[in-house]
Symmetry: D2
Subunit: 386 residues, 4 copies
């Protein structure tokens, strides 16, 4: 690595995303060794010193901080990776931009449009590299779907449908808030499944199928009250447990989206399907190495859905890994995103989705929540160029 | 059959449904031989004499008519089976009721609520037996789903989702109207996929999960103009090519429905899934002999979706057929419905879905179309007792 | 049916096969109405008068017999359908041939090669039409497989594998012998899974892939003793509970076959797969309306196994049935075989598999049993021209 | 890592297995951070200096060697990892044992029984830690299968079947021998699919189901001659392209195994299924995060094969990784095996499969090849205690 240009990472937040981003950085030298830029694990940051010290030691960070402002102030940090709960994204990102740092921010971009707008403005004014970890774009099967859509293989698109189904909050005894369960606390999370799960579906959808114009949504909170881990009191639950919406895309196709944490039997069933004039495509996170394709141009007697195993060197990213027939896992989507970020430093191109791209997704999320609250259709105001 | 009570059938309409209902009647003596009442193929009716004569001869009807009014007037007809396009259901059914005939009517009940209301009134005033051919209730896997829901195995229901996807009208050269394609002509059909496909989904859904309270819908007509087979002219297409809606059920669960004829790769993909507190169920017409079940009470290490092959004698209807592991087909759902109709003559119970039940489904369809037209939520007014 | 030529059927044996063959005959006029020859249910035959009388009445046979010799002696019988246990096939068939009757015999042809040879000789000397009910050839997906193989789409064949897995005899309390369980009695059945299940696999295999040259087999009887329903005594079990063999086909490909009644979780899992130079095919009775195809000539990025739903009018037999996307069942394979038999009367062609074809299958079964007994390879002596 | 005990690895062979073993070592500190022993990448070894130097630099080895004897002679190497072609395993392993090094050897152990026996003797005499990389045991779904079998959930076992199907050598233009294709050269590989693919199936099978007693096998070489990359001449192909065998296990169950590189449509389809008295299990490498289970003790109406997603913390190894519903990949089976090796240093237990265990697998491979050559059954001589 002697002749490589180091990018010194300061990671804020050492939970699941902190771990998986770190793992991604550590694989770059091994699997993308020809890259010009390379990550260096410079500092990890979290509030509790014992935890962050152990984390830094375990994962090989050169140092640690307990105050993110200290981290951002350090001159030996080139890029800040934000893995903290949603309510901290805006403040940290804006400060990091002002300090001239590159920013890799966990999704969703923000809790509100106001926060998001300020974040976009901050990175643009500072002219700093920025990206948001919508990792599913970098699952090879999903990337291949993008290539197929762009190639025109599907023709005119009629339908896009996606859902993200989980079942982990059915138990009413589960508290809200705190380190582990901040996603159930509306103040920390901003929203429930809309920002957590639908945001993923919307990012992928607009990437594959263009802007979402207007939406009609319904949300539900099945468990109305839960103990709050902070206060110890039973409090009203402010998040959406489930959300469904339909919409029009700019290209005239119809969209249908659903997310819930009350679908017994599904852990993380993120699926999408696109129906075009000539061909259709579907994908399912539970079987993430497969892409299903129906091509109407196949000979009619033997036409059917093909289940394509995305493990060949000629398929996106797979030349980096093992041999045909052998699969990769969830973490590889993050590795690919990290790799694309480092590649973008070399090419000078933006690393999509940028803050601006993620802000467009945020607009759809907000329109969805507004539509559900007002029981009416809402325009999103999205301007998609992705 | 000497000591059996014959029910003399007059069948009106000799297309696909005429064929499949006739096939159903003919299997009753063989497979439900202990029944007290038995069908007799008394007369078939269609406008073109050459066709109806050939049909009657092929299928073994004792006679034929070319005017349905003549058929209804005949004293040797006990039950009228209506297999004609939707625009004729009301007139025929009302006349048949007045003539004191039992009525088996193809779905959907009617084109409009006005028609449907008059039909319900007619059969109730006449006190005649009536049923509507929502055949999917009698697919053994679907009937088993009903038993599981009613047993409480699923617990409180959170989500119900269904779709019915086809791809047969993508070709813009396809004309509308005429014998084969009346489903594309709004005057004959009343609506597009809403009455044709969603009506099935709604009937099953309310049977399994209770009444639908309110809906928010979106429809689309992708191909705006088609040649009309009657006039030979290019005319505006009045039907909905695709329709999606979300809704609340009376029991507080959320519903999500979609139907389209523009989903490349799907011939007749009718699927539904129910997510309950303790268990979930899903079914797919393309694999109609299977029911998938997830039971959270299974031991956690080996918990998963079970794919249950519905071919055992102890499962609904299957003791009538062959041996475990061997499947039945689409036509058997109609045979079972016919059998249940003949059984209901014996028990004196109504044969669900009755005209009244089907009218409730009609209310949802109408609310869906109104919601889509007005871009607003609509109450359905459904009173479900099913 | 006035101008049709009637073929008066005499059916011997009124168990499962008696029912399903009868059902097949009854569908011919409805679904193959243009045929010149038509079945007439002339007489059913079984030993117990109360049972055969009820059977004849239920299914619409014009008369009944309790002695098969009487049946064969009747001049008003044109064709004899043998649905009795295997130990009676030879005697009945030879007598029927001598009486100049057409013969439709359940599989397997016979218990032994000696019996089979005599049966072939009898029908050839008598010059009577003959066929054996290897029904799986007439599952549309399997027929399509044959067309694909014959078209050269697969290229040179390397591998053929098939299995037939059941689980219904795991319970050691199950008796052997008697009406219901004669398949467990070696005297009645001739063998266990070899004649019952592997015979099906072998018939399909040689039809699709040509003659089997030599075999190496292993059999096992897991439950060594069972009560015999005839004697009431515990007796040694003489059948094979499981049998596996590998073999060479005449075309140089390798074969692998397995059948068992001890595979927990499988009711009637008959599957086969063929691997060719250019393409592969697989099929599964539990999903009988699907054929899976892998075509190496597909574009490499999107190459995968296609799941083809065999429900289109252009696919074998399916123009007789309903609409695309709707499935048929187990019984339809018998209806198709009956239809092909009646068609063959018109064309004058043999109706495969003939007794001679089935005798070749018998040779493989015998070689398999001999190989297992002697723990050595055996030549089959098959001369396949199918 | 200050208080950890370092194990200095010397890796010989820098191909696919060299890469994936190295990757495994590098994950131990991150994901198994509490372990007492930790790997240190001390030296990589390969014949070509430019290649090994680049490899060492890319992956972070502290040094490199071009002669494996030099590597073994180094005092700063604690463990030797053998990733070279099969023809070098014995010589290297025996030398390493004599030098007192721990040995981690790629599978298969050896080309011949003679080699294998000498290797076992060498490690036992030297008393050095040893293990063979039969990685599939450490796929979490497979490890769970082992736990289920051992728990008695399946009851008495009747059947074990496995296959390993590939399609990468169908092209006759593919040469044999050389760096990339040594697996096609019998001198380097010892055998074809038997040692390469069946060895995996046999290791898993005996681990799950006990010793294999005797075998009857058939092999085939479809492409008889190929250009040799060494000589540049067309030479006879000495390996088996395909191999199938059936066998008896010590526990009385029947085994059926198949491997080929001529199964069009399969990249690395390693599947196994076990049928027991009470339950059955199956697994498929192409969907490696799933285990399918049929439990006869489930309520009969809703009994079916369960598809269990092995991504929960309570399932083997999965508490090391991400969140429920998210999958891991092929490489993780190696990471788990490496982890188990380091754990075994701590516990003092052997790290199965040891050389002795792998030698038992070798006996089955040899018996299979001998059986195929002699067309007769062969006893394996296996003494399985695993």
């Amino acid at each position: 690595m002697s002749n490589k240009k180091p990018i010194r990472i300061g990671l804020i937040g050492t939970g699941l995303m902190g771990r998986i981003h770190t793992n991604a950085y550590k694989r770059i030298p091994d699997f993308f060794s020809e890259f010009e830029y390379m990550p260096v694990l410079q500092a990890a940051c979290a509030r509790r010193e014992d935890k962050v010290k152990a984390f830094a030691e375990q994962w090989g960070y050169a140092s640690y901080e307990t105050d993110w402002k200290e981290l951002i102030a350090r001159e030996d940090i080139d890029a800040v990776d934000i893995c903290t709960p949603n309510d901290t994204h805006a403040e940290i990102a804006i400060a990091a931009a002002k300090a001239g740092k590159m920013i890799l921010c966990e999704k969703p971009l923000s809790r509100t449009l106001e926060e998001g707008e300020a974040m976009v403005k901050a990175v643009e004014e500072a002219g700093v590299k920025n990206t948001v970890w919508y990792n599913y774009r970098r699952v090879p099967a999903v990337t291949l779907a993008k290539q197929l859509v762009d190639s025109g293989k599907l023709g005119k698109i009629f339908h896009y449908r996606a859902n993200f189904l989980q079942d982990w909050t059915i138990n009413p005894e589960l508290p809200q808030g705190g380190d582990a369960l901040w996603r159930l606390d509306v103040d920390a999370a901003g929203s429930g499944v809309t920002g957590d799960l639908l945001a993923h579906c919307i990012d992928t959808a607009m990437w594959l199928n263009g802007g979402i114009k207007d939406v009609s949504a319904m949300t539900e909170t099945f468990i109305k009250e839960r103990v709050h881990q902070g206060s110890g009191m039973v409090q009203k639950v402010g998040i959406d447990d489930a959300c469904v919406f339909h919409c029009h895309f700019d290209n005239g196709s119809l969209g249908l989206f659903e997310a819930t944490r009350y679908a017994r039997g599904h852990k993380a069933l993120y699926t999408f399907e696109i129906n075009g004039e000539h061909a259709s495509i579907r994908w399912d996170l539970h079987d993430m190495n497969w892409l299903e394709i129906f091509d109407h141009k196949d000979e009619s007697q033997v036409r059917g859905w093909r289940r394509v195993h995305i493990t060949e060197g000629e398929q996106p990213y797979m030349n980096r890994w093992w041999i045909p027939g052998t699969s990769i896992g969830y973490e590889h989507s993050f590795i690919h995103q990290a790799a694309d970020f480092f590649l973008s430093l070399q090419t000078g191109e933006p690393c999509a989705p940028t803050f601006q791209d993620a802000f467009e997704t945020q607009k759809v999320c907000q329109a969805v929540l507004d539509s559900a609250a007002s029981k009416s259709w809402k325009d999103t105001g999205v301007k998609w160029e992705g």
